[in-house]
Amino acid sequence: MSPATKKRLSYFLISTIVLLVVGKFVYNSLQGNTVYFFSPTDLSNLSEKPNGLIRVGGLVKKNSIKEKQKNASYTFTITDLKNDTYVEYEGLLPNLFQEGKGAVIEGVLKDKKFLLAQKILAKHDENYMPPEVAEALKKSGNWNKNYDQ
């Protein structure tokens, strides 16, 4: 091998190794920080309960928001009008979180019907329907044109 070829080959090898290591690093971090989304129906169809952080979205069921004691902890039900998920949330409900409106909740599942929430995703706009929620309602066959604004 000529010196020039050797040099090029070593550049190639070094950059390949660096790329692989960095790629693996990015991949792991992406896996570790991915939050999957489920509708209440998706959850009830699961054979195994997912571990780690997930998001559940749907409509906030009418008359389901209840305050527990006085420590700003709430329970409510998220529904896609076919299946329900119960949510317990310690913290304050955002301004745009209202019964009958769409919401996305992030948290950890305790069992398939029960979510311990860590975060409620609040939106900018009162007419806005999170795309995942719209999808969940379409899947459960309960999509109503009135939601589509």
Binding site: V22, S29, V35, G91, N95, P131, E135
Partner: protein, 631 residues
């Protein structure tokens, strides 16, 4: 009436643009002189777009509800200021602003390029016109801002209250002046390639047209961050949200571009790399528009949108990218004029190294932003990527980046100059180490990442300060203030982010009237509340007494209930000090008898973050001060 004139001037401008394209093709394909009115026609198309934009603004101000966009986004009760800003608070108006800015940059280019090569000038205008034409068609056929409604409603639906903020008047126009501004350097590149004028003097011309939108974009992102912190009551300045990332991606790409075009200007290297970065920057800007406008994202910033328009924008982006790549491949500079290869530890070597790091950061942000979209398109699974993904991956690379940023400017072009400055580098290291150790003990934090973050950012800051302190050795007129300011700004930014990340605290509680809660060193007492009525909202203001180490302050956050449309917003109350902020946002409760919920934040070094945004922006502005050693 105004709506008719507005629409007609858009259509005429579109026809003029088509005519300009035809004139260009006629000249190129059949020879003969270029039509003498070629540039005049372009100017006319610009003035028509500007006129229709002014008409739209007027329609908003006079509340002309015969126009759908006005009806849906305005209300007679709204203060004048927000009627005005409402013009770009909606899809149609903001697309018109988008086109106006494409056209404005073309117009500015015509004004400031009189001494340039004639064929480069008209080819650039040709490409700028093509962009303008494509988006005018999009506007006319899918989102006509002057669309009428009949019967004419008496009252409008009102503007989303969250957007009723003075900063809204500034934030979107600056963002657009930023990323739409990259269209000009994109056209200039294609023009340069076609006219075989893509060389060192191209880089000297292009520099200005990269710095200008970059400065606007930096300022626009800063304003957005500031707005989120003060007005939206989210308690932070950056959330790694897809819509935020959409503006960050072109920023990273253009930052890399600024540096590579300098190398091209000084050393006649990196021709291909600069061309690719130019295309990438503009495509990412368009991609950002697509992400925000299409509504395919579930983002905290997402407004009600129309996905079909997204498809059109996606089509335009693909067409633009494809044509640009074809032109680049056919006309790419076969070899650069200078020698190939880089000298280790030369100025351009450090710039290339940092370009790689920037591209890496760009890749990370792009993957995090697009992976959820791709996954949902191909598998139907919905996911989102948490902020920790960005923080963990980017942190170690930012540290290396800071060090290279610090030592790079001490290198000479095309010469290994490590040995000459070695002692300085060691001195910087020792002084930054001492300060870091002090900081670490004073703040009682020995976390490894924290120490690294402080050390590396101080290293950069000290190296810049050193240069600043000893600038007497060089002539004032040759001193690169632009670099010094923006680099120092970036150093302060990372320092502030590190402090903020490790020390800020968040606490939520529901406090009944007259009672208090204790959180760490803070005692928060809900002492009083009162309500008032304003023109377009009702407001409930709470008074909170905060005691910290014997010191007492009062914060007065409030909740507003807007009437048109009905919506609640939280107005934050912030007590800013040099090092930290105390920040309270109230949450809405229908029944106040058992107390009102608050979110309390103790945020560190937020002011330093704003200061660093300003420094970086000033750096961008100073690049327009011509230095003596520049041509």
């Amino acid at each position: 009436m105004t709506s008719n004139i507005g629409f007609i001037s858009i259509v005429i401008s579109c026809i003029l643009s088509l005519f300009i394209l035809i004139l260009f093709f006629k000249h190129v394909l059949f020879g003969g002189p270029l039509h003498s009115k070629f540039f005049a026609l372009y100017k006319a198309s610009f003035f028509l777009i500007a006129a229709s934009f002014v008409l739209l603004v007027i329609s908003f101000i006079i509340s002309d509800f015969s126009i759908v966009a006005v009806y849906e986004n305005s209300h007679t009760d709204k203060p004048f200021f927000y009627k005005f800003a409402g013009t770009w608070g909606n899809h149609e108006g903001s697309m018109l602003l988008f086109i106006l800015i494409i056209s404005l940059y073309g117009y500015l280019f015509l004004l400031f390029s009189k001494q340039l090569n004639f064929s480069l000038r008209f080819t650039t205008i040709f490409f700028q016109t093509s962009l303008q034409f494509a988006f005018l068609l999009f506007l006319i056929f899918t989102s006509n801002p002057f669309e009428k409604i009949f019967p004419i409603p008496n009252q409008g639906l009102g503007l989303n209250p969250i957007l009723q903020d003075p900063l809204l008047v500034l934030h979107p126009p600056f963002l657009y002046l930023g990323y739409v501004g990259f269209s000009l350097v994109f056209s200039l590149l294609l023009g340069g390639l076609i006219c075989n004028y893509y060389n060192q003097s191209w880089a000297a011309i292009a520099k200005r047209w990269i710095f200008l939108p970059w400065t606007f974009l930096t300022f626009g992102i800063g304003l957005g961050s500031f707005w989120a912190y003060y007005e939206l009551g989210w308690g932070g300045y950056w959330f790694w949200d897809p819509v935020e990332n959409a503006s960050l991606m072109p920023w990273i790409a253009s930052t890399a571009l600024i540096h590579s075009v300098l190398v091209m200007d000084k050393t006649k290297k990196l021709y291909n790399w600069t061309a690719i970065l130019t295309i990438l920057t503009f495509v990412l800007s368009l991609f950002g528009t697509f992400l925000v406008r299409s509504g395919i994202l579930n983002s905290v910033h997402a407004f009600a949108n129309d996905p079909e328009r997204g498809l059109y924008i996606l089509f335009i982006i693909s067409l633009i990218t494809f044509s640009a790549l074809v032109i680049y491949i056919l006309k790419s500079p076969k070899q650069t004029e200078g020698e190939s290869g880089f000298v280790l530890f030369s100025r351009e070597f450090s710039i290339v190294a940092n370009n790689y790091l920037l591209i890496f950061a760009l890749t990370v942000v792009t993957i995090g932003t697009t992976y959820p979209i791709l996954l949902s398109v191909f598998t139907g699974e919905s996911i989102s990527v948490g902020p920790q993904y960005y923080n963990t991956i980017l942190a170690p690379f930012v540290f290396i980046f800071l060090i290279v940023m610090a030592i790079g400017p001490y290198m000479k072009w095309s010469k290994n100059s490590f040995a000459v400055s070695k002692n300085k580098f060691i001195a910087f290291l020792i002084s930054s180490l001492i300060v870091t150790i002090l900081v670490s003990f004073l703040l009682k934090n020995q976390n490894f990442i924290f120490i690294l973050g402080v050390l590396c950012s101080l290293y950069l800051i000290i190296s810049v300060l050193y240069e600043f302190a000893y600038f007497k050795n060089i002539k004032l007129k040759q001193f690169n203030f632009a670099r010094v300011f923006s680099h120092a700004g970036f150093g302060f930014l990372i320092l502030a982010i590190t402090l903020h990340y490790f020390f800020s605290k968040e606490f939520t509680a529901k406090i009944p009237l007259g009672e208090s809660v204790t959180y760490k060193e803070f005692v928060i007492k809900f002492s009083n509340y009162f309500s008032k009525e304003d023109k377009n909202y009702q407001e409930l203001t709470g008074e909170y007494e905060i005691q910290k180490n014997g010191e007492k302050i009062v914060l007065k956050p409030s909740i507003r209930r807007y009437s048109q449309p009905q919506q609640f917003t939280s107005e934050t109350s912030i007590r800013g000090e040099w090092l930290s902020d105390m920040y309270i946002a109230m949450d809405y409760t229908s029944d106040t008898s058992d107390g009102i919920g608050i979110r309390f934040y103790h945020n560190y070094s937020i002011r330093l973050i704003w200061l660093s945004y300003i420094l970086i922006t000033i750096g961008g502005l100073l690049s327009f001060v011509r230095r003596k050693n520049e041509q």
